[in-house]
Symmetry: C2
Subunit: 316 residues, 2 copies
């Protein structure tokens, strides 16, 4: 996607896989040698290497991503990241958020977490829809994904093919299911000016009632086929934002749905859902011109001009 | 709506209706005296009167609105306006757009045209949806409005109760139908970085096949019940953006629909459509904090942070 943009230049890639190191990114992409080296880590970049933006797509959890993001900032690279918890770190990790913002200012770069979910369908779109409301009372968010259409790591992440027992054990460890739901709720609440008292998540397995196959794996009846996850943001006993995500192999009718209750109420249905893997890449690359032009700091989508397709550069 | 916002203060109203002049806006709103005078024109404001923003809701055509908007700018008031042609005056009126931008800079104010259509459902929402696309090939916009639910001036504007002959005559004069379709297309094209060769509109009457009544008027069979308007933006022979608006008394299934064709494609359905009169007011008032914080100039939604409900002030 970067190579297709006439106003962007892909200057390097970084991947820890030994199989990729020393190769040319053009070769990996099936485009022949393009003179784009693949480094094993950011420390291996040449001394005088310069770049404006790093597209960072490694891990979901902020604490795991933090050393990588900090290394980018220290080299004066802005960062656009799919780390789900970076969407709105101010809720779970206010100290890290402050530190990232401070570092970004010091190095005059912008740091921005985005993606499709979190980052687009259930938060950015919902926030925009609220603009047409005189009053907003509450917001409901729903996403149903047929995980059979998604990449292998996602199918693993939702537990497809696990026993229910194994799923429950992994779920208790907190490293199972969709990451970023809390950040979606916290970002929407922040945009609405709602000071939530708490955000609570639930996670249950969806269980297969028949044999299912994807190009990567198969699921027997009684095994886990994916997740049903919910998240609620409350003030006192009142739920202001509720979110419901079903992501499983064989979901028959995928969609995204946002209901803003208020005056007027708005119900938005995204037919068939927004295709996750493509849309995530798009959100990253489309943000590049906006991030390059942004003042320094830790950014959310609220700080940027209206995000949009920037295939021809932003129109201004 | 302004009175309901704790961080806003309504300091005056201006209306040319002699019936309102000298009255208190609070009385007109049924809230008793609030000390908010209604003036006949901007020239009657007291000498030392100060305000930050004018919410300007008078006429659809830019040339008619221009003296009013210029008068606001000269008094150093920012302007948020429902004048449909102000949404993106750069297409039809590049000279006026340049002049407004120059004046706004000189007086350090921002000037912004918004509303629900144009301004939200078929342009701002479509632009945001494109953010999730690697590639955008074309965009289709559709809105069906049951005009029976709308205010009387709108029912008149779409020709409800006219003969077909009268409608055609008025349509030829160019002062019939929905204003702002061209601006919607031009704004979306600008956001996509598409340099359109032309934008063409068509306008046809919808004709009643039975007797219809609203709280304001009745329509006999064979009379006009509303409009069917289309607008297309092309580069060469290729249509990049097409828009279709049906707005008539008795439309059975109102909705708004945006289809972004590309990779991935996105189809967005706003169920029952976004209620026009309320949403227009909301777009105006919700923009206030964003416009007050914006750098000077003639603005489009692309220049502002993500527009959103600002009932509790923007969350930053």
């Amino acid at each position: 996607m970067v190579l297709q943009r006439p106003y962007l230049e892909l200057v390097a890639a970084i991947d820890f896989s030994p199989a990729l190191q020393g190769k040319d990114a053009g070769e990996i992409l099936g485009k022949g040698k393009l003179g784009i080296p693949i480094y094993a880590s950011i420390d291996q970049l040449p001394r005088k290497f310069s770049a404006q933006v790093v597209l960072h797509t490694t891990v979901s959890w902020l604490e795991d991503a933090l050393p990588q993001i900090n290394a980018c900032i220290q080299k004066n690279f802005s960062v656009i990241s799919t780390t789900e918890e970076l969407l709105y770190p101010q809720w779970k990790y206010p100290d890290i958020a402050r530190q990232l913002d401070h570092m970004a200012h010091k190095h005059k770069v912008a740091v921005f977490g985005t993606g499709v979910n979190p980052g687009f369908v259930l938060d950015t779109v919902a926030i925009l829809l609220s603009a047409a409301c005189i009053q907003v009372d509450s917001i409901s968010l729903q996403r149903v994904v047929n995980a059979a259409t998604r990449r292998f790591p996602l199918q693993k992440k939702i537990g497809a093919g696990m026993t229910v027992q194994e799923f429950r054990k992994q779920a208790r460890s907190g490293r199972m299911g969709h990451v970023g739901f809390v950040e979606t709720i916290a970002l929407v609440a922040h945009a609405m000016g709602w000071k939530l008292d708490n955000i609570r998540e639930t996670l249950k397995p969806k269980v297969a009632d028949r044999r299912l196959r994807t190009q990567f794996l198969s699921v027997e009846p009684g095994q886990v086929t994916g997740i049903h996850q919910t998240c609620r943001g409350k003030i006192g006993r009142r739920t202001l934002i509720d979110a419901d995500l079903q992501m499983y192999i064989g979901a028959p009718d995928p969609f995204d749905r946002i209901v803003v209750r208020g005056n007027p109420g708005i119900a938005c249905h995204l037919e068939k859902g927004v295709a996750g893997d493509e849309a995530t890449i798009a959100m990253l690359v489309n943000a590049i011109p906006l991030i390059v032009d942004a003042p320094p700091g830790l950014k959310t989508v609220l700080d940027l001009p209206l995000v949009r397709w920037t295939g021809n550069r932003p129109g201004q």
